[in-house]
């Protein structure tokens, strides 16, 4: 009956295909975001899932309350310095494969909050895959970001993302005490400056798959 019969009748029993293509196809078709709203962008994120914009058309409507069950972290809003270690911990608790969408001007660059209380860009804490501009972005823009992320996922290799059990993902670090590390998303100048002055830089650890990609 229906489409299945037609497909099965017209195709051979065994197909040869790249493993990456199949796995990525499965991954991109069912992205589960973590329920993690930070500020006004979270209102637009909720609207994205609701009836009018209906993110489930793209397979990403299942918001999970536990990071252990989530694939995508949508950083929706400004990240305060006090929230930064919490956000990093939630990211570390998410199993691989995982992706991060930085939603809105504040999460991307600090936005209008250029002050001591707000982290100037969430990419100082976690590696970001897609940046969404806007203040706040419209739900359509978030839908577009999800679709861009899906395109990005299709270009990945399964080898890039293996679930690991490193102790760092189980420890919460006291902010301001994190060691200077290499291979971050910061600009090269800042890297050099930090290395020269021997100062510790808070909240900046490269993620594990970032390390693997750079090596």
């Amino acid at each position: 009956m229906g489409l299945e019969n037609t497909v099965f009748e017209s195709l051979p029993d065994i197909l040869t295909v790249r493993l990456d293509a199949v796995v990525n196809w499965a991954r991109k078709s069912s992205l589960w975001p973590a329920t993690f709203g930070l500020a006004c962008c979270a209102i637009e994120m909720m609207n994205t899932v609701s009836a009018r914009n209906d993110l489930s058309r793209f397979g990403a409507e299942t918001f999970r309350a536990s990071p252990r069950q989530a694939d995508v972290m949508i950083v929706s809003g400004r990240v305060s310095r006090k929230m930064a270690p919490v956000l990093r911990r939630i990211y570390d608790q998410m199993p691989e494969p995982k992706w991060v969408i930085s939603m809105g001007a504040c999460a991307t660059s600090g936005g209008v909050f250029d002050n001591y209380a707000i982290v100037q860009g969430v990419d100082k804490i976690v590696p970001v895959d897609i940046y969404v501009p806007g203040c706040p972005p419209r739900p359509e823009m978030l839908v577009h970001a999800i679709m861009m992320l899906q395109q990005k996922i299709m270009k990945e290799s399964v080898k890039d993302r293996q679930d690991t059990f490193e102790p760092e993902s189980r420890e919460s670090k006291v902010p301001g005490t994190l060691p200077v590390t290499e291979g971050t998303a910061l600009e090269r100048e800042t890297e050099i400056e930090v290395a020269q002055h021997q100062i510790s830089r808070p909240y900046t650890i490269p993620s594990r798959h970032e390390k693997r990609r750079s090596s």
Binding site: R81, K82, D114, N115, Y116, A117, V119, Q120, K124, V174, P175, G176, T177, I199, S200, R201, P202
Partner: protein
């Protein structure tokens, strides 16, 4: 409009003339400036004898590094029986921004005093748990001071 409030101030003066340094009457509100040594006694007198049983707010302010005295701590008292409001003010110098705690009178002063300490660096003597409440525990400096840089100190400024 504020005769009734001035009545409380008169009673304060009768109790101890040294308690009242100055009185301000603006916008229908009366502010009494208190020497910092007397703040706990004044609060206890107003609470026990005059019915100001609620500390509706306690906050600090930085008048700027060039001012002397630089800091002030405001106590907003309210009475749930006669519904009057009275503001007490203590002025503190930059060299020794210390004042006695009123947590023994109102438990609500606990977090308010922690906030004032956190953001302005005013120390409350005798406070049971004087540590930061809003900013991260490793924060450097006091953010609401006028001479605090908006982007913060290194390495947190991230600029």
């Amino acid at each position: 409009m504020t005769e009734k409030l001035h009545g409380y101030v008169e009673k304060l003066k009768q109790e101890n003339a040294g308690w009242v340094t100055d009185i301000k009457d603006e916008l229908g509100e009366v502010t009494v400036i208190i020497p910092r040594e007397g703040i706990v006694d004044v609060c206890r007198f107003l609470r026990n004898s005059e019915g100001f049983d609620l500390l509706s707010d306690l906050c600090g302010a930085d008048r700027g590094p060039e001012e002397e005295p630089r800091f002030e701590v405001n106590y907003h008292l309210f009475s749930t029986t006669h519904h009057d409001r009275l503001r007490l003010k203590v002025l503190l110098s930059e060299d020794d921004p210390t004042v006695s705690t009123v947590t023994s009178l109102w438990r609500t002063a606990d977090w308010h005093e922690r906030e004032t300490y956190d953001l302005l660096g005013v120390k409350f003597e005798g406070h049971p748990d004087l540590r930061r409440i809003l900013l991260p525990s490793d924060f450097d400096g006091h953010a609401l001071r006028k001479d605090y840089p908006l982007r913060g100190y290194e390495p947190y400024s991230m600029n």
